[in-house]
Amino acid sequence: MTSESLSSTRKPGTAFGLFADRSQIVLIGILAALCIAISLAAPQFYSEANVIAILRQCALVLIVAAGMTMLLICGEVDLSVGASLAFVGCIGMDVINRTGSLTLGVLAALAFAGTVGLFNGIVATRLRVNSLIGTIATMMMLQGGVFLYTREAVQNHHHLPSFTGLGAGYIGPLPIPVIIAAIVFVVAFVALRYTTFGRYLYAVGASENAARLSGLRAERLKLIAFVVTGLLVGVAGMILASLMNAGQPTAGRGFELTVIAAVILGGTSLSGGRGTLIGTLLGVLVLKVIDNGIIILRWNQDLQMVVPGIVIILATWLDIVRRRADAR
């Protein structure tokens, strides 16, 4: 773990991007070890059906985690994504029922989710409420609000094949949610790694004052990150609604913690300025493989709470150890 070389400090080019960042090697190792161990005990792990099931589960988390990574990098967090996910599905389904149009449903869902993101952003940047607290409050309001909106699950009336396809469909061998997630991932990756927007997010997270003095509109950048996260929740919410064939007001409980856990596991710092999307991808995969493995191995499902808890603490600690070694 020790290295004397200077090149171990992060390079701006490769620092927040390319594949062999050392923190990610740990994660790749964990992931590989998990896959090997699980598949030895249960060969069905590698069955096509299971791999697709894992990927589809990853897709939902990854879509939102891409936004959350941006938020954490610029020093903010959004705990309302789980509650918003449920609300979005209900609204999207409702609009589809009323209009018979998938497009209008998706647009309504995105508009709503984007507005939630905007609200969170305004609370955090204009009212200066710490986003950890502000978004907990938004979470409460959304959890209450969704039941004011609908008392029961919004059923699918029109059975539009395109709507069903959103969650359960395939293009070639790949499930549509996985393809959507891949697109989101690539766009977010490029945005963070190669654009000024991405570089500015890192700068704002590293020092908001310095970024502002350098002519960046820190508040607006954060606002954008909130809205992007919101919109991605909209996308995920519609996929989930399609998968469940209904808008479920009770969905999404604990989803925010899964997403944040994955992002943190991927090496993104809670204090801002540091993190990568590749790390987030690995974090999502590790968590979902653990979840899946526990079921495949028929272990007690209560371990689905225990194991991720341990893994996150352990991974964060390993990251600290590695960075200390680098600094020596």
Partner: protein
Amino acid sequence: MPQSLDAAHPVPPPAPAAAMLKALFRRSEIPLLISLLVVIAFFSIASDTFLTTRNIANVLGQSALAMTAGIGVAIVFISGEVDVSVGSLVAAVAIPLIVVMNATESLFLGIAAALALGLVVGAVNGYLSAYLGINSLIVTLGTLFILRGGVYLYTGQTAIPDEAMLESFFQIGNGRLLGLLPYPALIAFVLLLAFAYVMRHRPFGRQVYAVGGNPEVARLAGYSVKRVKFACFIISGLLATVAGIMLASRLGSAVHVAGLGFEFQVVAAVVLGGVSLSGGIGSLFGMALGVLILSFLSNGLGMLALATEWQLVVTGGIIIAAVAFDEFKRRRI
């Protein structure tokens, strides 16, 4: 000179009235106290069953859990760290409590076992956060999950009933002083006073403020930042245990689903009480007022027969408004 000692400013300046007013207003307690009175006044008018001795005593008893755990969480916040593991801890400590009591018929041994678990969890949180330097939000989120999962695994997702049926244990959570004031309220109040004293008048309390306010300065002043933070996590673990014991008594069992979401309640109250997430700022009395505001709000909205969904919306809105106000005030005054 009057000996009124505020948490952050133990020696208020002997200043003219305007500055005095400003200093008073800078303390979060005053606006909070006003808010609490407004809440109470509102519900007293809106509901005829709200302002009764019995109901007020009840609410004080109900708020005791959050207040007791809130003391510990507030202290951890003031030291510049976060503890969200209390939600699972209140459920976890009930297991050794009930199991040992069932086996030994001794309340004392049961409480000792519970405190031992609380101590261990606090120490683990503290060691991982303070000594290994892992972000405490991650650590305590991790232990939140691990403990809850552990409770489910141990109990097989059922509750463990209290079979010893000790009257003393029943009284802890359900008894009332003079038939009126619930014991939990009394316990929480005594703990609040004790820790408020520690935070204001003991060197340790001042070290906690200094460590949270500016860890580098605290280190240069010769404090062991790690040790102070470690101690804060242990205090939080022990106080959450006390809350867990009171809850177990009210439930007459170790309930595996107890305390789900309790961490949100406590953190919301602590933040509402003006304790800053960034450390070094806030007082335990502020925290206590935050707890009372939320408790009276929940009780009052219930009296108005407002559904859960409205309660959630209202509470969420109030939290945002309160924290925004606090921030506004901090910047302007």
